[in-house]
């Protein structure tokens, strides 16, 4: 494994070509394959080319708005944020400002135990969703890593929510007001849940316009993006390094 290829867009495209060629050998249509890549600048560039060739790309490890905008503008099919990891990062870095546009008092009060700290990943999902729909981009947004039911519900409206089994079970057991006749409402359709985001809301929302290119991508990533993206990539490389010897020696497992 050569870490020097980390920023190698051509290498990524070559790899995608290998996968697609093998898919053809196996009779798998390309429409049913998503090429997953971490959202590095090289991957964003590679994704742009792959999408133009008609392949669908799925960028993961998105942790900042600028990074997401760069990916969306390059036309990726699917973009995935892990809100749980974003919150973990802020927990590990208490000095980082969770909401630069919000009042500083909120964070101070939360630290003092008088308020609850909001997961900064949740407004980020909303912001990115608004950007996608405001700009009429075709990218689909996936939010994952939600740790509580409240977090999941607060993202209602996001294209896809990847949720843990425990929370799913808990959601399935939670009752809503649907079907409950309190005698005050003519319609039985109101179950008390509202979409936190929708294409209509997004169309009317104000979106922050940023222009991201190779020169300012690092700045667009920010400290959190750089930290988490590097860690993810490093872990993936370790996985790969571990796998190959196992693959060569012990494919049959221990059966």
């Amino acid at each position: 494994m050569d870490p020097r290829l980390a920023q190698d867009a051509a290498g990524l495209r070559k790899n995608a070509a290998v996968i697609m060629s093998m898919c053809l050998e196996n009779g798998i249509p390309k429409e049913r394959i998503l090429i997953q890549m971490p959202a590095t600048w090289a991957a964003i560039e590679a994704a742009k080319g792959l999408e133009l060739e008609g392949l669908q790309t799925h960028l993961v490890d998105v942790y900042s708005y600028g990074q997401a905008v760069a990916a969306i503008d390059s036309g990726v099919s699917v973009l995935q944020l892990n809100v749980g990891r974003i919150n973990d990062w802020y927990d590990r870095n208490p000095g980082a400002i969770r909401d630069p546009s919000g009042p500083r008092e909120t964070q101070a009060m939360a630290k003092a135990g008088f308020a609850e700290l909001e997961n900064p990943g949740l407004p980020l999902v909303n912001k990115i969703y608004n950007y996608i729909h405001h700009s009429s981009k075709g990218t689909k947004l996936i939010a994952s890593g939600m740790r509580t039911k409240k977090e999941v519900v607060s993202l209602a409206g996001c294209d896809y929510l990847v949720v843990g089994e425990q929370i799913l079970n808990s959601l399935a057991k939670t009752s809503t007001l649907e079907g409950y006749n309190d005698g005050l409402h003519a319609s039985g359709n109101d179950d008390g849940m509202k979409a936190a985001m929708s294409p209509d809301q997004a169309a009317g929302a104000e979106v922050e316009r940023v222009r991201v290119d190779a020169s300012n991508f690092k700045d667009a990533l920010g400290l959190i993006g750089s930290d988490l993206l590097d860690a993810d990539v490093k872990r993936a490389v370790e996985d790969a390094t571990r796998l190959e010897p196992i693959f060569l020696n012990r494919v049959g497992g221990q059966e």
Binding site: D8, S21, I35, V162, V251
Partner: protein
């Protein structure tokens, strides 16, 4: 859950391959998944076989064109084989499989959708469907359509 699924498509990140009888909406194949399959002593027989088959894979032309080593090609082939099996047996007709294509050439790649679980299971409601282009159809439309049908 039904209320939430009216607005979003909800996917479980922890449905295992063993849960039979349930078609998955999407799945994701990665090196981590391959390692998991290989390390499992009791199940995934077909998948192990398809991985084993990949060890025999040879395509010199592809190797020359891509610059990949034989092992890199074989590991990629194993992922594609598993992806094919998932599409054939576990994933819905309109679902897709994500293939982790990056690691060998890029020092970059991550395993799986969601919380690094191997396979994503669909938990979408009966009323919500996803077509081949990953578009969401709100269940209220379907309900309205059903109401109209009932007259």
């Amino acid at each position: 859950m039904d209320a939430l699924e009216r607005f979003s498509c909800v996917i479980c990140d922890s449905l295992t391959l063993a849960s039979e009888g349930q078609r998955l909406k999407s799945a994701s194949v990665s090196r981590r998944l391959l390692a998991g399959i290989m390390a499992n002593p009791t199940s995934f027989g077909r998948m192990k076989f398809s991985i084993e088959q990949a060890r025999m894979y040879q395509n010199e032309d592809l190797g020359i064109r891509s610059g990949f080593s034989k092992t890199q090609l074989q590991v990629t082939k194993a992922m594609v084989n598993v992806a094919g099996l998932l599409l054939e047996s576990s994933v819905e007709q309109t679902g897709r499989v994500g293939v982790d294509g990056i690691i060998s050439s890029s020092f970059s790649c991550r395993s799986v959708l969601g919380a690094r679980c191997s396979v994503l299971g669909a938990r979408c409601s009966r009323l919500t469907t996803i077509d081949g282009s990953l578009r969401r159809c709100p269940s209220r439309w379907i309900r309205a359509w059903r109401r109209t049908r009932r007259g």
